[in-house]
Symmetry: C3
């Protein structure tokens, strides 16, 4: 099974060509076109989503993940093997979060000389390199058949939330298709700060000096339609949401904005 | 074959995770991600679309359908077996139209204690309950293996059009991706009213007191580009459309608006 | 393998029904829903995309391609066999570019009397004719089983770029999901004009009498973020782009606009 994530655009011609390039080499490969609407050239978002998604997939799944602002420059095309999955994409940090979470076994730089002969465009390595590499691995070949082991991978990290005495300082790291604001504040951070029993919490959008007191609930429907709330979401992260509404619009919030969570003064 | 319909958003991270959760249990399951752009939390639209789509699918297909504003509250996760298909989703009316059309055989409430052990988030039963249930059924297990029979299902209904002496009173029940206005007035209603031979019909947008006289045609291309028309569409319903145009914009029409169709006064 | 391209809209109910209609006849058919966001009723764009995509797919692939403003009128439903693929769709030029490129072997008009009995709507031949035909061919039947050979196919052509003494006159024939402006000026035209070594080229948007001098590069990242450039893209066509930006917006460009490329006066 080959899973595709990219910023090429949902149902774009580029994804269609990439899938064809896989199928031409391995017509029996099952290709799942999962997300091609990663925010354009947003490596961080791609890395966060890949990590969240890969977690759910069975062992042996191959992931092609492409957010590649440096396509055609010297950033390397790599394959990362973990104990569970294989990740293929540009070495720009995109694959790091998922690979680190699962435990990196081996990293290979793809040697395009070892791929089946094919003209390699300068601008579309998704089709001309990554798809080909994935197809070959899906046939049962080992990464060493088309690549050479290397020692290091480009890293990025999700900024860690800071648990202080009576507050947690975090960031909005992802805004989903509903406009929910997903922070980097984990369920463990909440426990560490002893906030998990609170009925309400203060949310400070630090960069804009705005403070709101929001109910801290378990599910969206616990507040009235159109009302904001905090909850621990399916990423196990603290989320700022609006029941049946759009929190991004409600709070005019921005990705990567700083948020501070505080116990309410009583 | 497992078909997925939801309001999670096209190619959203939630759909990707849900598919993974199925594949982890049954890697051989064929998963078709059909529509995840159902209008957010619009149970009625989801029910209408599920009924229209299920009709086309072979016997034995399993449908996961999720529009679930009450996720995490006491609405039950259910499985409905008909003579042709299996429907899995929240018991909020969403599954009712399709199931009723096919003939309900058995209804089960999913017992999450009987599912493979997995942390169940409060906000994402699509991944944590419905996908798991579908995966298990796709392996050949019976619904009774993971659920308990219940007697009733939450119902909703498509409002019926009213055929009067010289008019039909209906509603716009769906607006498609082209902006076509699909009414609840069926081909049978049209016949009952003796309108099927009419060359033109009056369309009254009742709530806004607007009246138009539109040609009643068989296909879009029978009127000039940009011109409005009425026709019986592929749902076998009366549709208000604009050739190569957008009827929603042309008429500033709204979902669930009342429309009256009349023979033209001669 | 059956590939679907259409202007029905990404994840629209129509695509979902079409896939079901295939699966009901051949549950084992692998259906790839590739692009359903072709610009509405834009036959030229559909033909260009089908040609680009088909190139990547293995022999034996069946393509359903539907952009069908004349649905229900007398334009014929056809099957085109080339040495590599089978194309199914309306005879309005849509299939021509791909078929011509691969070499047309035989053309058939689908005889709906020979299809399995099914009510054929006037407005949705994608589901009621093309999907059925594709499903039957995917079972191994020959086109002659459901159609009659015909001699000619409706043609369209991509306007050819004109290589003059010191300029090339072309057009913007496709604007992709990133806003990149893809012209009909091929890598061969560039070579013929002896432009391939130029560091900069003049781009004249002829219809609007606007002239820009743009760097002629190999990859996007060779210019600063937000800066425009020319390059040969993955279609092997000259493309006007903006690094990490949107060239359509940058140049307020329009599809089918005339562009002239000139060596810079020195």
């Amino acid at each position: 099974m080959i899973c595709v994530l990219s910023d090429y655009g949902t149902e774009s011609v580029y994804v269609a060509e990439l899938i064809g390039a896989i199928k031409k080499i391995n017509p029996n490969a099952e290709v799942l076109s999962l997300m091609n609407n990663i925010s354009r050239q947003n490596i961080f978002e791609g890395a966060f989503l890949l990590r969240s998604i890969a977690k759910e997939y069975p062992e042996g799944s191959i992931f092609i993940c492409i957010v590649d602002p440096g396509v055609g420059t010297k950033r390397a095309p790599i394959i990362v093997e973990t104990s569970k999955h294989v990740f293929i994409g540009p070495d720009n940090g995109l694959l790091y979060l998922a690979a680190k979470e699962e435990g990196i076994k081996d990293i290979y730089i793809i040697d395009t000389e070892l791929l089946p002969e094919r003209k390699i465009s300068k601008t579309f390595h998704g089709r001309d390199i990554f798809a080909i590499a994935a197809a070959i691995l899906s046939l049962g070949y080992k990464p060493s058949f088309i690549g050479n082991k290397i020692e290091r991978i480009e890293k990025i990290d999700i900024p860690k939330a800071l648990v202080k005495n009576s507050s947690i300082e975090g960031k909005i790291i992802y805004i989903d298709s509903f406009g929910n604001l997903i922070t980097n504040i984990s369920i463990d951070d909440i426990r560490l700060a002893n906030f998990e029993k609170e009925k309400e919490l203060e949310v400070i959008f630090k960069d804009r000096e705005l403070t709101f007191t929001l109910p801290f609930k378990e599910v969206y429907a616990e507040v009235d339609v159109g009302k904001p709330l905090l909850l621990i979401d399916s990423f196990d992260l603290l989320e700022i949401a609006v029941n049946k509404g759009n929190a991004k619009e409600y709070f005019s919030a921005n990705i990567m904005e700083n948020v501070i969570i505080k116990k309410q003064w009583k």
